[in-house]
Symmetry: C2
Subunit: 334 residues, 2 copies
C-alpha cells in the first residue's frame, strides 16, 4: 500500500507538496499538481483515514441508533440516512438495539470513533443519552424526543397528525372508536394519542369512551389488541393505530376473524411506509416525510460537529393524511 | 474528557501503569490496580479508540454492504449482524447501495477505517471487489458469491432449494408451472432457477415449457410479472418466485385480478422472512437460516482479520421447505 512518502519520492516532490495537492492548496504549480495527481492514480494511493482522523479530529463517520430494524419504517429511515450521509461524504455506523445501543453509541463518541450520533430511539429512560448531551456530545434526536433533553431534533407534528385522524373519524359519523396505542415511553406514541383524544373531545366525544388497547408499535402485540377490540360487545367501527406496523397487525387480525375492512371497520395507521400502498393493505395513514426529515437531521449533525457551540435547533415537519381503501377512500370532511 | 495522563496523575501512578491496568497486564500490584480502576470509574475515562486503533491496527469495526435494505430479507440480516458483531465486541458500518457501496467499502478497508467488509451484494460485475480480494483485503461473501472471486463465503444450498420446489410441484400433479426469476447477476437467482428447472426436467417436464417471467427480486417488478402470467391463455397453476418479496408482489397481483391463492394458483417464495408467516400472506417458502449464516460469516471475518494467511473457507447451509396456506398446506410428496 503506497504511503504519501512513496508518492512524494516517485513524483520528485516533498510530502508537504503531496499533502497540498490532496487538499487542493492553491500554492502548487499546475505542472507539479498534474504530476503528483498522475502518480497518485498510478500508485492507487489511499490516504490513511485513521491517521487523518487523528489529525483532523474527525472520523467522517456518523452513528445512527434504531430500534427494531424489522419494523418497515426503520429500513426506509436507514436507507435515507445512507443516501444523505453519502451525499455529504460521511459513513454510517449502525446500532440496532434501542436501549442497549445507546450506551455503545455514546461510548463510541467518547472514544472518538464516530463524530456524533443520531438517535431514533430516545425515551424518557435514556439516562446515558441525557448525560452525553450534558457533556456536549454531538447528538441529534430523530422522530422521537425527550422533554428534558435539550438538543438538536427533527420530528413530525405528531399532535397534529392525531388530530387529523380524530377529525376524519368524527366527520364521517363514527360513534364507536378504537385506538391501539404505541410504546408509552416514546414521544411519538404519546403525542399521536394526545392529539387524537383531545380532538375527539373537541367534537363532542367522551375520550374515556374510546376503546383503547395497549400496543407497542409491533405486529404481534397489535394482532392481539385488535382481536380484543373485535370481541367487544360493541366493537369499534373505526380504529386508529399508533403506527403502520400496528395497523398491519390489526388488518391481519381482522382477516382472521372474518371482519371486513372497510365495510365492518376502518383502520388508519401512521408513517406511510411503502407497504401501506400495497393492494393487500391499501392502508389509510398519516404520512411522515422521511426523506425530508433525514436530510434535515444530517444537516443538523454536520453543523453541530463543525460548530459545537451553536444554539439547538428543533425542526418539525407537518403531517398529511393519505386516504386509501382501508377507510373506503372517503375524503376528509370540509 | 479525562485523558490517561489525568488518570495517572489522580491515581499517583505513571501512564504506563494506567495502560497496564487497562490491558489486564499481570505486573501491577493488586492495591495499585484497585486504585487505578476506582479513578477510571470516577473520572468516567474512555480509552481513545482512535489512538488504540492506530497502535493495534484494528478498528473493531466491520463493514456490511447490503442492497435495498427495504427488501424485508435485509433488515433481518442486518439485525442479525448487529447482534452477532456486538457479541464479539465489534461495531458495524453499513453501506446500503449494492454496486455503489462496494467501492466505498473497499476504500474504507484501504484507509484502515474498517477491519474488513462482509458483502451481501456480490455480482459478476464486481470489479472493485475482485481487486480488493486479490490485494488480500479481509472480505466475506454472504448469501451471494461470484465464481471467479475466491474468498471466505457463507451461502445456502440454493440449487437444492430450487430442486425441492420442483419436486413439490411435480409431486402434486401441477402441469402448467410458472417462474418469476431474480436478478440475473446474482448467484442466488441463477442457482435457484437452475435447481428448479433441472429437477423439473428429471420429473419429465420440458423446462422450456415453464412459463418464465423476468423479475429482479423487487415487489413492483414481480407484480407486473404475475399479471403477465395470469393473463396467459393457459396460466400456471403453480408459481415459484425467486425470493419472498417477489412472492408478496405476486400475491398482490393475484388479488387485484381476483385470482384465488391457493385455489387457482399456488405461490412459493424463498427466504422465509417474518412476513411470510403473516396471515395475510401465509406463504409457503424455502427457509434460509439467517441467524446461523450471519454467525458463521462473523466468525469467518474475525478469523480472517487475525489470520490473514489462512485458507479460504466456504460454508454452505441446507435449505428447508416451509409449507403454509399459499400451497394449500399440502405436504411434500414421499
Amino acid at each position: 500500500m503506497a504511503t504519501s512518502r512513496d508518492v512524494a519520492r516517485a513524483a520528485g516532490v516533498s510530502q508537504t507538496t503531496v499533502s497540498r495537492v490532496l487538499h487542493d492548496h492553491p500554492g502548487v504549480k499546475p505542472e507539479t499538481r498534474e504530476r503528483v495527481l498522475r502518480v497518485l492514480r498510478e500508485m492507487n494511493y489511499s490516504p490513511d483515514g485513521l491517521a487523518r482522523a487523528m489529525i483532523t479530529r474527525r472520523t467522517g463517520t456518523v452513528g445512527v441508533v434504531v430500534e427494531d430494524i424489522t419494523n418497515p419504517f426503520y429500513p426506509e429511515v436507514v436507507e435515507a440516512f445512507c443516501r444523505e450521509l453519502a451525499a455529504v461524504e460521511r459513513r454510517m455506523t449502525l446500532w440496532n438495539s434501542g436501549e442497549a445501543g445507546e450506551p455503545a453509541a455514546v461510548g463510541a463518541i467518547r472514544q472518538r470513533l464516530v463524530d456524533g450520533v443520531i438517535f431514533t430511539t430516545a425515551t424518557s429512560d435514556s439516562a446515558v443519552l441525557k448525560e452525553a448531551v450534558r457533556q456536549g456530545a454531538p447528538v441529534v434526536l430523530f422522530n422521537r424526543y425527550v422533554q428534558d433533553i435539550d438538543c438538536d431534533r427533527v420530528t413530525t407534528d405528531n399532535l397534529g397528525g392525531g388530530r387529523i385522524v380524530a377529525r376524519y373519524f368524527a366527520g364521517h359519523g363514527h360513534e364507536r372508536i378504537g385506538l391501539i396505542s404505541g410504546n408509552q415511553k416514546a414521544s411519538t406514541a404519546i403525542e399521536r394519542e394526545k392529539g387524537f383524544l383531545e380532538e375527539l373531545g373537541a367534537h363532542g366525544f367522551d375520550p374515556g369512551a374510546v376503546l383503547r388497547q395497549p400496543g407497542d408499535f409491533s405486529y404481534h402485540r397489535s394482532r392481539r389488541a385488535m382481536r380484543e377490540l373485535i370481541e367487544c360487545d360493541a366493537p369499534p367501527t373505526a380504529v386508529f393505530c399508533a403506527n403502520d406496523l400496528t395497523a398491519l397487525g390489526a388488518i391481519d387480525a381482522a382477516r382472521e376473524a372474518g371482519v371486513r375492512i372497510p365495510e365492518d371497520v376502518w383502520v388508519v395507521g401512521f408513517d406511510d411506509i411503502g407497504m401501506a400502498s400495497w393492494k393487500t393493505f391499501d392502508l389509510t395513514t398519516v404520512r411522515q416525510p422521511i426523506s425530508d426529515m433525514v436530510r434535515a437531521a444530517v444537516e443538523l449533525m454536520v453543523r453541530r460537529v463543525s460548530s459545537p457551540g451553536r444554539s439547538f435547533e428543533h425542526v418539525e415537519f407537518g403531517s398529511q393524511l393519505i386516504i386509501r381503501g382501508s377507510t373506503a377512500h372517503k375524503q376528509l370532511p370540509e
